[in-house]
């Protein structure tokens, strides 16, 4: 799918060593890397066994957190994707001013905007944890790898 030239650090091509609690991917978030980061997260999450809708949901959830950093979190941040037993977790942190509310409600269908965090939470059945301080927001999403994706 991705045939860009800067895939040298793409973990999918080097088959990440999956050991207990090791990070699968660490990356710096910038506005011009949002799409590339999503492709990397997708490749790594697929490599550890996520497939189908679960994979797509996880990738979108992580992407929305990354987009949130770029749009509302000061523009820069860090992404850490790791696996602990059968859980894959992604932590996204920024250096913005944090949030003063919890995840916003889903807007009416005719209202543009404000669906990113809602999507991240609802696609993954509430596995979104937010930690806000005056020095930035840390958001964590996680998902369980199941042997068969047939069971939803």
């Amino acid at each position: 799918m991705v045939d860009g030239t800067d895939a040298d650090e793409d973990a999918s091509s080097t088959s990440p060593a999956i050991t207990y609690g090791d990070p699968l991917l660490t990356a710096r978030i910038t506005a011009d890397r949002v799409t590339e980061l999503r492709h990397k997260v997708a490749a790594v999450a697929a490599a550890v066994g996520l497939t189908g809708t679960k994979l797509e949901d996880f990738v979108l959830a992580v992407h929305e957190l990354v987009a949130n950093v770029v749009r509302h979190g000061g523009g820069f941040g860090e992404l850490l994707l790791h696996r602990y037993q059968d859980r894959v977790t992604c932590r996204v942190s920024d250096h913005g001013r944090g949030m003063n509310t919890a995840v916003p409600e889903l807007p009416r269908p005719d209202r543009p905007g404000n669906r990113g965090l809602w999507l991240a939470q609802h696609l993954l059945a509430s596995d979104l944890v937010l930690h806000s301080t005056p020095h930035g927001l840390t958001a964590t999403v996680s998902i369980t790898i199941t042997p068969s994706e047939a069971a939803k």
Binding site: M1, V34, E56, E64, R71, L119
Partner: protein, 117 residues
């Protein structure tokens, strides 16, 4: 071809009464401004716009907001903007956010009905 630089493509066919815009690839926050410009120009040309999503493989909340915004713009211009044939995860995102009834066509897929002035 999909690359880091051009993750999405578009194609527009203008008819006498409407324009069909086909979107392909991945639409995200990085492409939202371009998408907004494309749809804005399209609505200015013909206020009835059908957006074909059959070749779109990814959409995020920011690009979705642009579609909702364009839907309002077309309505203000006395026309309509509808989305057609979303598949896979794109359809899931439109479904779970509840916007499919708003953006989808009133009748069966593939047909577009203008809003009466």
């Amino acid at each position: 071809m999909i690359s880091h630089d051009e993750p999405w493509q578009w194609h527009a066919e203008t008819h006498a009464d409407r324009t069909v815009v086909s979107l392909a690839g991945e639409l995200d926050v990085s492409s939202a401004d371009e998408l907004r410009g494309l749809l804005s120009d399209t609505i200015r040309a013909t206020a009835v716009v059908a957006v074909d999503l059959s070749a779109l493989t990814f959409i995020d909340s920011t690009a979705l907001s642009v579609l909702i915004w364009a839907h309002q713009e077309a309505a203000h211009a006395g026309g309509s903007l509808t989305v057609h044939n979303p598949t896979g995860h794109v359809r899931r995102v439109l479904d779970v956010t509840g916007v499919l009834p708003l953006l989808g066509p009133d009748d069966e897929p593939g047909t577009v009905r203008a809003v009466a002035p």
